[in-house]
């Protein structure tokens, strides 16, 4: 069965984030709280890397179940990591966790263990800052990702395949990205084809949507193109999404429209999940 390979330190997989840093990302996202798209995607990347690090954290450090790249595309295409990891692409997760550019403090409501919530200060590490400059070379970014995916699948031919997560407003300026997306997912390990998921941040309004199974309710052609480029969710990810109350079907895709994409980290299986009794 595909997408069932163990993800472990000896059989790691890679996650490649593509971050749209074009000028159009300085526009506000649709919704009740106006936010720049660039802020939304930078915040998403920092939360995704935090979730991933915490998920793999053990007392001796963060385990290298994953190697991670954060590739920005705008005026240039290349690593978007700031601080000590500047200029690096695929980085073992333990190095990512130990080397944020800085750590801010934010307040967060957490369960108090007796069914309630309590506000507490939490560390909020940051690996990248918002940026909005230049065109949207999505094809070039996907080709960059394809290079990383090809190298990874050659190195780990039996492992869980790489996952590419593209965060964008969808307004590609170097042509239709569909073929470049197909080229990414044409690479495979014995466990399955590389996965491509998309987060679409848009000013077009409409209902925020996470992991839909149809493009029917999506508001514009950019959203529909990105939905079409997105891989169907593998069976175990669909099952997890369903267990969290999400409506899923065989055609559910790894696509999120103006909604929280950090859930995707919870889709990844590294062993027994730490979940509270319900």
């Amino acid at each position: 069965m595909p997408y069932t390979a163990e993800i472990s330190r000896s059989n790691p997989t890679s996650i490649i984030f593509l971050v749209d840093q074009s000028t159009s990302m300085s526009d506000p996202i649709g919704g009740e709280v106006p936010q720049q798209k660039a802020d939304v995607v930078a915040d998403a990347i920092n939360r995704l890397l935090t979730e991933l690090s915490v998920k793999c954290a053990k007392e001796e450090g963060v385990r290298d179940y994953f190697h991670v790249a954060v590739i920005g595309y705008g005026a240039t295409v290349g690593s978007a990591l700031a601080g000590p990891l500047e200029g690096r692409d695929l980085v073992p997760l333990s190095e990512v966790a130990d080397n944020p550019a800085r750590i801010d403090e934010r307040s967060k409501k957490v369960p108090d263990g007796a069914g309630g919530l309590v506000e507490t200060a939490v560390n909020f590490p940051l690996w990248m800052d918002p940026r909005a400059h230049g065109g949207t070379p999505m094809n070039r970014a996907l080709q960059y990702a394809e290079g990383l995916v090809a190298g990874w699948t050659e190195q780990y031919p039996a492992g869980f395949p790489p996952i590419v997560i593209n965060l964008t407003d969808g307004e590609s300026t170097d042509g239709d990205p569909t073929a470049a997306a197909e080229a990414v997912t044409s690479h495979a390990t014995a466990d399955g084809a590389a996965l491509l998921f998309n987060l679409h941040v848009s000013a077009a309004g409409g209902t925020p949507t996470a992991f839909p199974d149809s493009a029917d309710t999506l508001p514009d052609s950019y959203a529909r193109t990105l939905f079409g480029m997105s891989s169907p969710l593998p069976s175990h990810m669909r099952s997890y999404a369903a267990s969290q109350g999400q409506r899923v079907s065989e055609t559910t895709r790894g696509f999120v429209y103006n909604a929280d994409i950090t859930t995707v980290i919870q889709f990844l299986d590294i062993g027994t999940r730490a979940t509270e009794l319900r």
């Binding site: 915490v54 954290a57 939490v122 027994t272 999940r273 730490a274």
Partner: protein, 282 residues
């Protein structure tokens, strides 16, 4: 005068998943009173077996604390295995032990020049998680005087998917709490180190019991090995292998056997904790 020859032997083994060290193993076992495997047990005894969740930090330490505390409570207060208030008191007591343990650990890390990192703070606020299976066995009063056939009463409590198997004539006659291999997954019910809702914990824990006679065996094991046993095409052969390789004081043999099953994709690569209880007598 007739002398009873009935007794119980208890063996336990803990093996890490392939690719992990023994120190990284997150499954734990506690058996009380502690005796060597060849000790002829004639008194009541208790065991706790826990499977620490991969996704939580300090899972092995929590699994050890939880299994030991469960065995202690089962020895001191047998009604723990009947559920209700006694189990709730146990649940409150074990969660209350975690805070001081964690404070000591945090101070030791500080003193060691390795203070907790940002991701550990976040992770430890979430708590540590483990399954729990607790067992208590009592010789039936009056049944060990050499005049009547000896028997033992056992009671067990389980939260999550660590399993108990009752064998008679080496045939499975009872499995608990999981009854079908499809029930295993990556989201079993777990006992969290910060769950202060003792009523919920008691409510979700399952309780059972039974009787053993000479020749019977009780096997306690964590999920990967239990799933292998339940899904074996030839269960008699699987039981035979288990009894052959899960012998006392032979962890290397046990590990080699487990690795063979893992290599042939019969056993999921996971930590394994195992307790074997052999009931003997005439």
């Amino acid at each position: 005068m007739t002398t009873s020859t009935s007794c119980v032997y208890v063996t336990h083994l803990v093996a890490p998943k392939k690719g992990s060290t023994a120190a990284e193993c997150e499954d734990a076992v506690a058996v009380l009173p502690g005796h060597p495997h060849d000790h002829m047990l004639r008194e009541p005894f208790a065991a706790g077996i826990c499977d620490g969740a991969t996704e939580s930090a300090l899972a092995k330490d929590w699994a050890r604390l939880l299994s030991r505390t469960a065995a202690e409570h089962a020895m001191a207060w047998p009604d723990v295995l009947a559920g209700g208030t006694s189990f709730e008191q146990f649940a409150e007591a074990v969660v209350a032990r975690w805070g001081p343990w964690l404070a000591d650990y945090t101070m030791a890390r500080q003193a060691d020049g390795r203070p907790l990192k940002w991701y550990e703070h976040t992770k430890l606020e979430e708590g540590a998680y483990a399954t729990l299976l607790t067992l208590r066995v009592d010789p039936e009063s009056g049944a060990h005087n050499g005049k009547t056939a000896p028997s033992w009463r056992w009671r067990a409590a389980a939260l999550g998917d660590s399993c108990l198997f009752h064998l008679r004539d080496n045939q499975l006659i009872q499995t608990f709490p999981v009854s079908a291999v499809e029930e295993f997954g990556t989201t079993p019910d777990l006992f969290s180190s910060r769950n202060r809702d003792a009523v919920l914990l008691a409510d979700r824990t399952r309780f059972t019991g039974g009787n053993c006679r000479p020749g019977d065996r009780l096997l306690l094991m964590t999920d990967a090995l239990a799933a292998w046993l339940m899904s074996a095409p030839d269960q008699a052969d699987a039981v035979g292998q288990l009894l052959e390789y899960a012998g006392p004081d032979d962890l290397d043999d046990f590990n080699n056997w487990l690795n063979g099953l893992r290599d042939s994709q019969q056993l999921r690569n996971d930590d394994v904790a195992f307790v074997r209880i052999d009931f003997e007598g005439r």
